[in-house]
């Protein structure tokens, strides 16, 4: 393993883990807005790095499948987060559901597509179920769009939870396959964390997710790269 691969596969996740632990401890002791801002910026930098890394790999390998869909998903997620940072910089943070959030949510459409594609590689069975899940996820995305236009928080929460559920369902079906297991576990973890945070189950869980979100997405990006299936 060369230095670059060592940095990406081992050192960055270690640094993200260490930061997560420090952040969690500090925020448990006393809420610190400066730390929260730094964490948000670190998350955006992580997403940006994962986007570039996966996109470059997709272009280098001329991948028109799972890796490309994954990189587009990260692209959506990164743009959604950069949207808010840029608005914050020009002091124009909206107090309504904005399009940046919609972009954030739509990353799940790409991740779901990548999972469905992977599922089709693994097994040609359950095509009807796959198509139903895809159809329902598009409906959920349209509901999201309606929530953005009408600025309806409840509808948005329902749509986000539905999208997470569909992704998690497909991820669970991939767990038995050894090649897809890492990706499936990461997708499942991210969906569960998102559902718990969206539905506001517990502030401790929300804090834990906030602390380790950069690590989660780093590993999620790695799970796409390490997948040895291509078009």
């Amino acid at each position: 393993m060369n230095l670059k691969q060592q940095i990406i596969k081992k050192i960055l996740p270690l640094v993200a883990t260490a930061w997560g632990i420090v952040y969690f401890i500090v925020m448990i002791i006393q809420t610190n807005e400066a730390m929260r801002s730094v964490n948000n910026y670190l998350f955006v930098i992580t997403c940006f790095f994962v986007t570039i890394y996966t996109m470059v790999q997709a272009i280098k390998t001329n991948d028109n499948g799972i890796l490309l869909y994954g990189s587009l998903g990260f692209c959506c997620l990164t743009l959604g987060n950069i949207y808010f940072i840029l608005l914050h910089l020009v002091s124009s943070v909206p107090d309504y559901i904005s399009i940046g959030y919609f972009s954030d949510i739509c990353c799940y459409l790409f991740f779901l597509s990548a999972l469905i594609r992977l599922k089709e590689y693994v097994s040609q069975n359950h095509k009807l179920i796959n198509n139903v899940v895809v159809f329902l996820s598009v409906i959920a995305a349209i509901i999201c769009l309606y929530a953005v236009i009408s600025n309806n928080d409840l509808v948005m929460t329902v749509a986000v939870t539905l999208l997470d559920t569909f992704c998690a369902t497909v991820a669970v079906s991939l767990l038995p396959n050894r090649n897809a297991r890492f990706l499936a576990i990461m997708m499942l973890t991210i969906c569960l964390c998102d559902i718990l945070v969206t539905l506001n189950f517990s502030s401790i869980i929300a804090l834990l997710v906030q602390a380790f979100v950069s690590l989660l997405y780093l590993l999620f990006g790695q799970s796409f790269i390490s997948l040895k299936v291509g078009d």
Binding site: C76, Y83, L89, I105, C106, L109, V138
Partner: protein
């Protein structure tokens, strides 16, 4: 709605649209090359879609709770959907090349931007010297690139899912969200101190698109590849 249509006809937009659309329609009938026909047709759709975008945006503005969000939230979604609508035609057409789909998508976006820029130019004072014209030219180039690239993104989604019917719609929908977000960022940032980001984002997308298309060409052996 009737009032909005009347209001629309009181502006210069219908004049701009039809003064370009009708001559181009003649050109479409005269031109023999199929690819050129496609590109010109999508360009014409871009010109026409401004009318529908105006009506829909005005309709949303009538609701006081929505009016402040039109430029940043609603207009980008409405405009991107309208520009991308005729791309649905390519869902069934298997013999069309990937590059043509992307060029048609760009043509729709650029047609839209032509109308928007004309309307913008007509609503400001005429520049009396070349230096005064420069900001307008910069604005024109970046608006054109932004609209063109945001539509091209959706065309790109159609090309990468050509052989995958079941996941085509979620991918294209996701790219629609991406396009609308880029459009929204452009609208918000263009009049702020971060205007340089709004101005450079379309250019970055353009070069990224060229890199992706060249990468595909290189992988296929350097030539045009008809599907």
């Amino acid at each position: 709605m009737i009032e909005m249509v009347s209001e629309l006809f009181r502006t210069e937009i219908p004049g701009f649209v039809f003064s370009m659309f009708i001559p181009l329609l003649f050109l479409i009938f005269m031109v023999r090359d199929k690819q050129a026909k496609y590109i010109l047709s999508y360009f014409c759709w871009g010109l026409i879609s401004v009318l529908f975008a105006y009506l829909l945006n005005e309709w949303f503005t009538t609701d006081p709770s929505q009016s402040e969000r039109v430029s940043s939230n609603i207009a980008p979604i409405v405009e991107e959907i309208l520009k991308a609508l005729p791309l649905l035609f390519f869902f069934r057409k298997r013999e069309i090349s990937d590059k043509l789909i992307i060029y048609c998508a760009m043509a729709a976006g650029i047609g839209f931007s032509v109308q928007e820029t004309l309307y913008y130019f007509s609503s400001i004072a005429t520049a009396s010297s070349f230096p005064q014209l420069i900001p307008l030219l910069v604005r024109t180039v970046t608006t054109c690139l932004m609209h063109g690239m945001s539509s091209a993104i959706i065309g790109f989604g159609i090309t990468i899912t050509g052989h995958l019917k079941n996941i085509r719609i979620p991918i294209v929908f996701g790219l629609l969200a991406l396009s609308a977000t880029i459009h929204s960022l452009f609208n918000i940032l263009i009049n702020t101190r971060l205007a340089i980001i709004a101005l450079s984002l379309p250019a970055i997308l353009y070069f990224l698109g060229m890199a992706l298309l060249s990468g595909n060409d290189y992988a296929k052996g350097g030539g045009e590849n008809e599907r």
